[in-house]
């Protein structure tokens, strides 16, 4: 039955990965505003905007 040890280790690794991902997301501010991104996605983002924003920030 030692196979269950491997299974537990595998499941724990995956679960810990997800927990780390979650902590990163919260720290990164992704839970601060949950409303605006849903509105932002409705507008077409032109590549021009991305380029300009990037070049301006440099």
């Amino acid at each position: 039955m030692s196979v269950i040890i491997i299974l537990i280790l595998a499941s724990l690794t995956v679960a810990l990965l997800f927990l780390t991902g979650f902590i990163w997301a919260v720290r990164n501010g992704q839970y601060e505003d949950t409303l605006t991104p849903s509105m932002r996605v409705l507008a077409d983002e032109t590549t021009e905007k991305i380029c300009e924003t990037k070049s301006k920030l440099k």
């Binding site: 039955m1 269950i4 040890i5 537990i8 499941s11 724990l12 679960a15 997800f18 927990l19 979650f22 902590i23 919260v26 720290r27 501010g29 839970y31 601060e32 505003d33 409303l35 605006t36 509105m39 932002r40 409705l42 507008a43 077409d44 905007k49 300009e52 924003t53 301006k56 920030l57």
Partner: protein, 862 residues
């Protein structure tokens, strides 16, 4: 930023009239005088914004939402923002600043739709100095990065204002703390608890089904140790707020709900350690983490906040950030915090006086409606004392401050005791009143069963003691109130009834007396009728002809003063070209149409302009509606043509729709009182509405209102205050429930517990009824969880508790309570909304007469 070329502003003759209003803001267009590219606009401001966006390739703004723009009511002079270039102000406002880039977060109350978000995030297309901008819709904020060497902060503010998003910069904004890290922490706590709960549950499944015997006793050990390891961060980090609250309440010598919760948590973890160490079993960590996870979810559910609403505003939130100070070598913009006694400041039309002051020069017409509720402006002579909070209406005045901002009239109101005591602790909530008895009972039963087992079978005594504490851990109990309140809060928010926090519902359920403010709360300046009375100085002249009405409407269109807007609305006629238009702020407007001189304005201004009463050339002695038999409430606007008075428009301050019905409904159950800053001219009218039992008080100062509430409370009444404006701020704060009535959600409102959309005021009675039902649901939830506890505690006291019983009983009791709380509240709320729809239709009916009264005008004009 380029201005539209003059050719574009000419009226093209071939444009079709748009039937559905201004292409930019959607307001009705009076005529075709503003149109561009086949689109009609209501005013020059809207047309300018459209052409600006059009030139910069931002037409998508109009595709995201139909008519998404904001009407530019009064163009703001760029000089207004000059104070933003003051380094002291900048230092406080900027999130980050270096030589090449600055990041600032601005509050833009005008943000209202998807198109706004898109436009503001594409702000960089309008000016090369603007970099990235990020909108937070729920907070109505935009975080903008810009290059200070390419665009000054004042220019950025002016740019935002020019497209309709005027930044709201108040004195209070300087002190406001930036986004709190608390929200982040509570998300992390839930995440950790959920993670541990899921993983421990996974390893506990074999035990539930008795499958652990297959893998041998070592598996039981491994699972036990892993469970303890997972549960450790949950108990220490995720549940840290419960430990802190329990410690606080013990120090306060009050038994709040957190005490039995932490007692249970501690007992479960201790028992689990004991079981794992002594190889008896895997412990109760599955139940423990699940419990904390559910509790945290319940807490998050209840903690619904409305980011765009501010419930804790004090006078600083109403004051501007800066004033213009007069110095030896001219004028300078100075932050209010740096204003000293004896400074000479200059106030322009519409500006607020931040400190008590003495008038030095200029014609002061001070509007104290903000402070006293009295709607008439006060004319002041040089040398007179002006109180902080007054708003200058009219020309430029110069004043000398006599008191510092913090000791002025308005600020002293905030020094009242009512503002210092914090009422937000929940020690008196339903849950905590219940938990006092509950905790004593649980500890009693635990001790009793331990004592019982010592005599029967001493080995079982400790187990029975901890088992009782474990099972009695009031998870379901602690969930009943948050879930009911959270659901109720969401339902009320849909009715535009925004609560500061969930506990307000409980306080609302206990209210037995309701105190109402008059001006702005029960009455409104917007909905009233406009009635024309022809000149009345002895000679009654003819009613206005269509031609004359057209003249007056055309003149009034050019002013943004609320009275002019109302007159324009009442005279839906085509606009005529106006020459030599001139507005004297706060006094009146004049202009020429086809060689005839038209004047509209106040009585005093008319007299000053030398308007005569009739064509016979009698001496002007203008008197208005005061002569008529029934005293009217509201303001008068006088109209003169070619220097001869034609008559006056009476703008009525009417009651909000359905107020009479609401008062009748409330009167049946609650004690009622009316407080007004106004004089007694309307006493008779309100006596009729309120009936004999209610208390009506006029000429009430803000402090009087506060004291009145305080007296009622000393007589043991639970008072709800319904008001608006700063003059009610003290009373709103003193009352058990303060309801601020606002015309527009998200704009100025004084500190309060509830923010209510004025249009929903007639709902008040139903909302109070709903809150009483919510309190009943909470109590029933207590009974249900108590029933489960009786079953669980009997098993535990008998010494028969096993992890599986615990793992079944706890979630089942929690789920029952959750389902009951949410379900019952939502059901009650659905009934509330069905009623609301009926009310909405009857409001429309009740509005009908006033629309009819405007019909004669409309008919003649077509």
């Amino acid at each position: 930023m380029s201005q539209p070329s003059p050719e574009l502003l000419q009226t093209p003759s071939d444009t079709r009239r748009s039937s559905s209003g201004c292409f930019h803001c959607g307001e009705a267009c009076a005529d075709d005088s503003f149109s561009l590219e086949g689109k009609s606009f209501c005013c020059f401001g809207c047309q300018t914004v459209f052409s600006l966006l059009h030139e910069n390739g931002l037409e998508q703004f109009y595709e995201l939402n139909s008519r998404p723009g904001i009407r530019i009511r009064s163009p703001v002079a760029a000089a207004k923002w000059a104070f933003l270039d003051d380094p002291v102000v900048q230092e406080k406002l900027f999130d980050y600043a270096d030589k090449t880039q600055v990041k600032v977060t601005l509050h833009l109350p005008a943000i209202h739709c998807v198109a706004c978000v898109w436009l503001l995030e594409n702000l960089f297309k309008l000016h090369p100095g603007v970099g990235r901008s990020l909108v937070n819709f729920s907070r109505r904020e935009a975080a903008i990065t810009f290059a200070p060497d390419k665009i000054k902060f004042s220019e950025l503010a002016a740019l935002l204002a020019s497209i309709g998003y005027e930044p709201e910069l108040t004195f209070g904004a300087l002190e406001k703390a930036k986004a709190s890290p608390l929200a982040k922490k509570s998300w992390l706590q839930i995440g950790v608890a959920g993670f541990a709960f899921g993983n421990i549950m996974l390893m506990s499944l074999p035990f539930y089904f008795g499958l652990d015997s297959f893998s041998g006793p070592w598996f039981r050990n491994v699972a036990g140790w892993l469970g303890l390891a997972f549960a450790l961060p949950v108990v220490t980090f995720s549940a840290s707020d419960f430990w802190r609250a329990a410690w606080f309440s013990i120090r306060q010598r009050v038994l709040t709900m957190e005490v039995p919760i932490t007692l249970g948590l501690g007992a479960i973890y201790a028992a689990s350690i004991f079981e794992v160490l002594s190889h008896r079993g895997p412990g109760y960590c599955d139940s423990l983490t699940g419990l904390i996870f559910f509790l945290l979810c319940g807490r998050l559910f209840q903690k619904k906040t409305y980011d765009r609403l501010m419930f804790n505003r004090d006078y600083k939130g109403f004051f501007p950030l800066s004033v213009v100070r007069k110095t030896a070598d001219g004028e300078e913009s100075v932050a209010i915090s740096r204003l000293a006694t004896g400074d000479k400041i200059i106030l322009r039309n519409g500006e607020l006086l931040p400190a008590d002051a003495k008038l030095i020069s200029g014609e002061a017409f001070i509007d104290y409606s903000f402070v006293t509720g009295e709607s008439e402006t006060v004319a002041c002579a040089a040398g007179s004392h002006l109180y902080a909070g007054g708003r200058q209406v009219g020309g430029v005045i110069e004043v000398e401050t006599v008191k510092p901002v913090t000791q002025s009239y308005l600020a002293t109101l905030w020094n009242n005791e009512a503002f210092r005591k914090s009422r937000d602790n929940d020690l008196d909530s339903l849950t905590n009143r219940y938990s006092k008895r509950f905790t004593k009972l649980v500890v009693g039963v635990a001790l009793a069963s331990a004592v019982f087992w010592i005599f029967r079978d001493a080995t079982k005594a400790l187990k029975a003691f901890t088992s009782v504490l474990i099972v009695a851990c009031p998870c379901a109990l602690a969930l009943a109130a948050p879930l009911t309140h959270g659901t109720a809060q969401r339902i009320l928010a849909r009715l535009k009834f925004f609560l500061k926090n969930a506990l307000v519902i409980e306080r609302m359920a206990e209210v037995d007396t309701i105190v109402l403010d008059k001006t702005g709360t029960l009455t409104t300046a917007d909905a009233g009728g406009v009635e024309f009375q022809s000149a009345e100085c002895g000679v009654r002249s003819a009613e206005l002809s269509i031609e004359e009405r057209g003249w007056i409407a055309s003149i009034a269109r050019h002013s943004t003063h609320p009275n002019s807007t109302r007159i324009t609305r009442s005279l839906p006629l085509a606009a005529l070209p106006v020459a030599n238009f001139r507005e004297t702020p706060g006094c009146g407007i004049e202009g020429e149409i086809g060689g005839r001189k038209i004047q509209l304005g106040s009585q005093a201004w008319m007299e000053k302009c030398g308007v005569i009463c009739s064509s016979r050339g009698d001496e002007a002695k203008i008197s208005g509606g005061e002569k008529s038999e029934t005293p009217h409430v509201g303001s008068y606007v006088y109209a003169a043509i070619d220097g001869v008075l034609r008559g006056s428009f009476m703008l009525e301050n009417s009651l909000r729709p359905e107020v009479g019905k609401l008062i009748a409904q409330l009167g049946g159950r609650f004690g009622l009182a009316l407080l007004s800053g106004d004089n007694e001219r309307e006493a008779a009218r309100f006596k009729n509405i309120f009936g004999g039992r209610a208390i009506l008080k006029f000429n009430q100062s803000p402090a009087d209102k506060l004291n009145f509430i305080h007296e009622l409370q000393q007589r043991g009444r639970k008072v709800m205050m319904v008001g608006d404006g700063l003059n009610d701020a003290g009373a709103l704060k003193q009352a058990s429930v303060g309801v601020a009535v606002v015309e527009q959600i998200g704009v100025f409102s004084p500190a309060s517990d509830v923010i209510l959309d004025a249009a929903e005021l007639p709902q008040l009675e139903r909302v109070l009824q709903f809150s009483r039902r919510a309190a009943w649901i909470v109590r029933t939830g207590f009974v249900i969880s108590a029933a489960y506890n009786v079953v669980g505690v009997s098993i535990a006291a008998a010494g028969l508790l096993s992890p599986i019983v615990c793992a079944i009983l706890m979630p089942v009791s929690s789920i029952t309570v959750v389902a009951f709380s949410c379900g019952a509240t939502a059901w009650m709320g659905r009934k509330l909304q069905v009623k609301e729809r009926q009310v909405a239709s009857s409001v429309c009916e009740s509005l009908q007469p006033s629309t009819f009264s405007l019909q004669p005008f409309a008919k003649e004009s077509t």
